[in-house]
Symmetry: C2
Subunit: 305 residues, 2 copies
């Protein structure tokens, strides 16, 4: 039964290699990362956030971005955005052939200071030339907007504040905005409220993505709600890779497999092969030395054994 309030197709923005791996303590060799990304592409993922051109000191796991990126040149037709924190990062990304980049902003002052060491305004000043120069190079820019629903220091985040920063990121020239529930506290009513407010501010749903964390088990219910509001781009992480500051041993990102199980059941096309993706997550879990937190990965692997 198809549901007219849901989209026919969803594009999954796979964040496992970047957002998923960045907090992993076990250093993953560059050859494994390259194979991971190739396997994700072979499973049918068409947008794979590959790495981050941050200073190696900040994110040691991704210090090999310059080695990794050239290994992905054969992946024709796959979008491989990379995170860039500033102009220096953009220079490195462009020099290594990146054709899409992303910047990472915060909806709250507290997290902006904690994560970027500057205010929201100061971060937007920093991003202005990054976005402008990327556009000049015909490289589209995704904006990440973190802490859209709750903040560990500030609690609930006013919707008007999120809309204001979202508007400014689009005004800078971002092509797409990913709304992040960085600490995983959001519930479906908040998703409805924010997406309604963004729509009223003339920010169309087709330029938005949602990025939910499963810390409190809410990610899929929130995603379903976003789909009902016209969002068709969903961030997810293969195998549920990715930590969270408040639950390091628990889960982080929405697992791509849990998302796929729902979308497949709803008859929503993604082009991704669940079995191949699950095999990939099990293979990577072997390299990381611990089981995937994805419930679908666990259920499918127990079924086969």
């Amino acid at each position: 039964m198809t549901d007219p309030t849901l989209p026919a197709r969803v594009r999954i923005h796979e964040v496992g290699p970047r957002d998923g791996l960045q907090n992993e303590k076990t250093v993953v060799p560059v050859a494994v990362k390259s194979e991971f990304i190739h396997r994700l592409a072979a499973a049918g993922l068409t947008t794979i956030e590959a790495t981050s051109f941050v200073h190696p000191r900040w994110v040691p796991q991704l210090a090999d971005a310059e080695e990794l990126f050239p290994l992905l040149r054969d992946l024709n037709g796959v979008r491989l955005p990379v995170l860039v924190p500033n102009e220096r990062g953009l220079d490195r990304a462009l020099a290594h052939g990146a054709r899409e980049v992303a910047v990472f902003a915060s909806a709250t002052e507290s997290f902006s200071h904690a994560n970027l060491n500057r205010s929201i305004d100061e971060s937007l000043v920093m991003f202005t030339p990054v976005v402008a120069r990327a556009i000049d190079a015909e490289v589209p820019v995704r904006g990440y907007l973190s802490m859209c629903f709750g903040d560990p220091w500030e609690g609930a985040v006013p919707v008007a504040q999120v809309v204001r920063v979202a508007r400014r990121l689009f005004d800078l020239g971002c092509a797409e905005l990913s709304l992040g529930d960085t600490i995983g506290v959001a519930t479906p009513g908040q998703v409805t409220e924010l997406l309604t407010a963004l729509n009223e501010a003339d920010i169309p749903a087709d330029r938005l993505a949602v990025h939910f964390h499963d810390t409190y088990g809410q990610a899929l219910a929130n995603t379903l709600t976003a789909l009902r509001h016209g969002v068709t781009t969903v961030d997810a992480s293969a195998g549920g890779l990715g930590g969270c500051p408040f639950a390091r041993t628990a889960t982080g990102n929405l697992a791509t497999e849990d998302l796929l199980w729902m979308l497949r059941g709803l008859g929503i096309e993604t082009g991704v092969d669940l079995d191949r993706l699950t095999d990939t997550s099990l293979w990577l879990a072997g390299h990381l030395g611990r089981p995937s937190p994805s419930r679908t990965v666990r259920a499918l692997s127990h079924k086969e054994s």
Copy 2:
């Protein structure tokens, strides 16, 4: 922001002491079970499925039903349904003071044979005097209908078949029917489809409960969908207690805490205190010797530590 398509209040039917514990290998002493149920009641739960009057050989964990039930007499105002498999079970339940019972049927022939060793028709013949005699004793009967969305032997379950068995359980005299996704495979479109068909068959949503398992991470998205179709009784298990035949080390029942996080965020009343419930699940996890699979329990416990 309240959502007019959602109920103002949800009754949680807590199944942890029965459905949650029944597959646990670690035998839990009767005093711990009694304390568990008292703590659940103190957290605000008003319907707690306490145990099962099955033959002790079938479910060794619940062989102490006759010892346990008298320990709960002080719980005034708390509904304490018990599962009864047949007339002998009903006799024992009534003799020990049970004021609500439940019977457990299957929507599929395969699971009816596997679980009850008889066909669906034969199981309904067996339940007929159980329900009739319970009603004579002014004891309401809940019907469980398992495998409503998928069956490990038969695959997808036709909606018409579920509606047919549901109709017969109401015709027997069941006061309420709990629709079970026993293997956790359902997705929101199926929930919509079944609830729509039941409504068209003149089975009102206020006599239905939903019972989702989180095996594939879908339980909360399915629950949200059921709420939008007028269901206001939701089965859940404290701490996510409860196994599943295909993923013993993964998760079983929807965790009451994960459900509460969503309902609280949506402004839906339950009367249940999340912090007290989380403490109870952590305390029981200590007795079972393994962490709770509930994401909310894990997140809240990490936050406090």
